[in-house]
Symmetry: C2
Subunit: 199 residues, 2 copies
Amino acid sequence: MAHRDRTIEALITALQRLPGIGPKTAERLAFHLLRIDSAEALQLARAIEEVRAAVKSCRHCFQLDAQDPCSVCADPARDRSMLLVVEDPREVARFEDVGYRGLYHVLQGRLSQLEGIRPEDLTTASLVTRVRDGGFAEVCLATNPDLEGEGTAAVLAEQLAPLGTKVTRLARGLPAGSSIAQVSASILADAIEGRRPLP
Amino acid sequence: MAHRDRTIEALITALQRLPGIGPKTAERLAFHLLRIDSAEALQLARAIEEVRAAVKSCRHCFQLDAQDPCSVCADPARDRSMLLVVEDPREVARFEDVGYRGLYHVLQGRLSQLEGIRPEDLTTASLVTRVRDGGFAEVCLATNPDLEGEGTAAVLAEQLAPLGTKVTRLARGLPAGSSIAQVSASILADAIEGRRPLP
């Protein structure tokens, strides 16, 4: 006799495939989905189905959206002279929240020797084509301020250099609200290196 | 303009309702479900739908199963003189794994003053009826060895006492493989209190 119903096992298996969800958490989530209102559980199932039916990659910037071109690329009010290059589609919402109003280019990852991720695994070729054809005044490489992010930015900067467009990088320095006594040496080194004259 | 597609937001909201899933994890999972093969994402949706369509509470023991009575209650090979009372349907698989072959009763929770969970919120009334009618030789209260689990066992023991059936509790003591130098004082106190004669 099976110790547990086949459909429960199938749900635990499916949940366990999610990143960061181990066997115990998958079991907990599965039994949660069994305990709650059926309507609420089915809402999650439907949300997955709807998102996969509706959302696609924008042909221009590779942002995920229900429309292609995406709502940013299709918006005539955006500043088309500015391109912000991000690693991940999630990061777009962060920049939108702080009022950025240029265009985006989503790399869909970052270069990593360790994980074997090469330029051809990302949308770098499209980026180069876009910058060549797009008439941007500035391309800001907004990859993360860590080893792989910096490495990715360096490779992209090299690929973009022949095109003559101004290429920038997000500022590194003290995080707002931090205390100089507490930040790491590399943060402080960035802050000194990037110091700016008072206006 | 919305910062993010409506269906993505809906999925993040649905994921955030799961226990232990905060906004950041929900976002990460949602974008994972967008990045992976559509077939794999839809497999999770379908697993949720199937489990909710297939699985119900057993009318006798309240275990979750595709059949009612459940596969344990319906199995003629089980020892019908023994009843093990557990808090949660997940715990049934644990006892099955270690070879328990009696019947179960799932309380669907434990008594908790803090969370306002009273006997009528659990399946205690059905338990009393079952023990009165069922001809069990023993009822083992396998609630957890913590404050609420012990409290629940004490209340159940009181309710079952008039029926005359032998009521037991799982042993408390040193966990197998532990070291006496490392275990907590309450574990050691349990181990001394529950010491047994050598055969």
